[in-house]
Amino acid sequence: MKNVTDRRQFLTMLGTSLGIGVLYTAMPAAAASGETSEFFNFLGEANGERPRPFSFVQLSDAHVGFNGPPDPLGTKAFEHAVELINALPQSPDLVLFTGDLTHDTEDKDVHAQRMKQFLEISKRMKVGKVKYVPGEHDAGLDGGALYREFMGESYYSFDHAGVHFIALDNVSRAKPEVGPDQLAWLKKDLARFPKTAPIVVFTHRPLFDLKPEWEWFTSDGDDVMNLLAPYQNVTVLYGHIHREHDHTEGNARHLASRSLIFAFPDPEQAQDKKPLPFDKDHPFRNLGGRLIKEVEGHASVSSFPIDQVQLSLREFHEINGVQQIMKPIHL
C-alpha cells in the first residue's frame, strides 16, 4: 500500500478568508487527485463512512441588538458576511455559528425580536445547513429557554461527509461549564465512533484556560477534553473571545473565530478586556476570519473580490488543520 503520510498537500486545510468568518475546506486536494481513494477507502472501512471533500464556514458573535459603543455597525458586518458567503464560487456545505447570536436583554420581548432578526439574516445564506450553539448572551440569563424556543436544542451532534460534528453548550448553566448531564451525553455519543473518526466540536467558550480572569475558560473543559483524548482527530471551534486564536493541546486543535461586532485585544499584551476602538474609515477591521492556506507545503494567499475589509493576515506554513481532522495513517 502506498504511504500517504508524506503527501502533505493531500490533506490540507485550504482556508480562505472571507474577510469575515473562516472558511474551512476539508480535503481539497482529494477533490483534485484521483490517488486518494485508497486512503479514503481505509477510513471508510474504519469509520463506517467514506469521507469526501467539503467546505464549511465558522461565524461567531453577531450580537444582534448591540449598537455600541464602541462599534456602531449593528448587523452590518453580519450581513456583509452573508453576502460574501453567497458570493463564493462554490457554496459551502455548512455554516457553524459559535454563539452570542444576539446581545442579551432582560426584556423577553426585545430578546425575542433580536432572535427573529438574527434568524432572518442567517436564512439569507444559501448554504446546505446552518447549525448554531448559544453564547452566554443568548442563554445565560434564562437557562437557554428562549434560545431553545427559536433554535432548538443547545447541544447535539450530527454527521456530515464522514466527519462527526458535536455541538456543546457551555453557557446555559450561567457559569462557564458544560455540566454533568452534558458530559454523560458526550461520553455516550462518542462511544459510537472509532478512535480514528474525524471529530469537530463547536461551542462558544474556550474549552481550555485561555484567560480565566477574562472569563475565557470552561471550568469542566478538562473533563470534555479527557473524553475526547482517545480520539486521534479532534478540532474544536469556538467564539466568545472576539479574536482569532490557534491552540494545540494533545490530540486537539482549538481554533477561535473573530466576531461580527467588535474585537477584544490580545490578552498577552492588554491589561483590561476592553473592546478595541472603532475605526470608521476601516469599519470591519479586526472582524472576521483569518487566512489559513497551505498548498503543497508552503503558504500562499488566495484573492477574493473583497472590498471594505481589513484583513489581518497571518500566513501559516504547513497548516495541518485538516490533518487534525483527517490524520494520515501509515497504511
Partner: protein, 126 residues
C-alpha cells in the same frame, strides 16, 4: 455589707470555675475559627463591594459572600475559588493565599449586560 460580700463571692467563684472548664474543653477548631479574619463581600450588578481586599500570604481568611440583587459568582483560579452567591443566602469560603501578588477575581455567573466587567482585586502582601 458583710452578707452581700458572702453572697457575691461564691457566685464569682462558680463563674470563674465554669469559664475555666469551658476554656480548657472547647475544641481547638472553634477557638481557631474565632481568630480567623473574616471579610464581607457584597455582589451587586455589576460590581463587588469592596472591590479590592488586601490579604497576607499564609494567613487564612474567611470570605462571607452575599448578593444585593441577583445570583452572582466569585471565581479565582489561583485560590481555587469557584462559588455561587445566591439571593437570601450567605456563602462562606476560606482561603489561605500562598503567593503574593495582585489577583483579578471575577463574577462568573452571567448576571446581565455588563457581567463581563464585574470583577474585584485581591492584593496579597508578603
Amino acid at each position: 455589707m458583710k452578707n452581700k460580700l458572702k453572697t457575691i463571692r461564691p457566685i464569682h467563684l462558680a463563674t470563674a470555675v465554669i469559664a475555666l472548664v469551658l476554656a480548657v474543653s472547647t475544641p481547638r477548631s472553634v477557638r481557631a475559627d474565632e481568630s480567623v479574619k473574616t471579610i464581607d463581600i457584597t455582589a451587586k450588578r455589576f460590581e463587588f463591594s469592596p472591590n479590592q481586599i488586601t490579604l497576607k500570604k499564609g494567613e487564612t481568611v474567611k470570605l462571607r459572600l452575599t448578593t444585593a440583587d441577583v445570583t452572582h459568582g466569585l471565581f479565582q483560579r489561583a485560590f481555587k475559588i469557584d462559588e455561587v452567591i445566591e439571593p437570601g443566602k450567605t456563602t462562606e469560603v476560606t482561603i489561605t493565599p500562598q503567593t503574593a501578588g495582585t489577583f483579578t477575581t471575577i463574577c462568573d455567573h452571567f448576571c446581565g449586560v455588563n457581567h463581563g466587567s464585574m470583577k474585584m482585586t485581591f492584593v496579597v502582601t508578603e
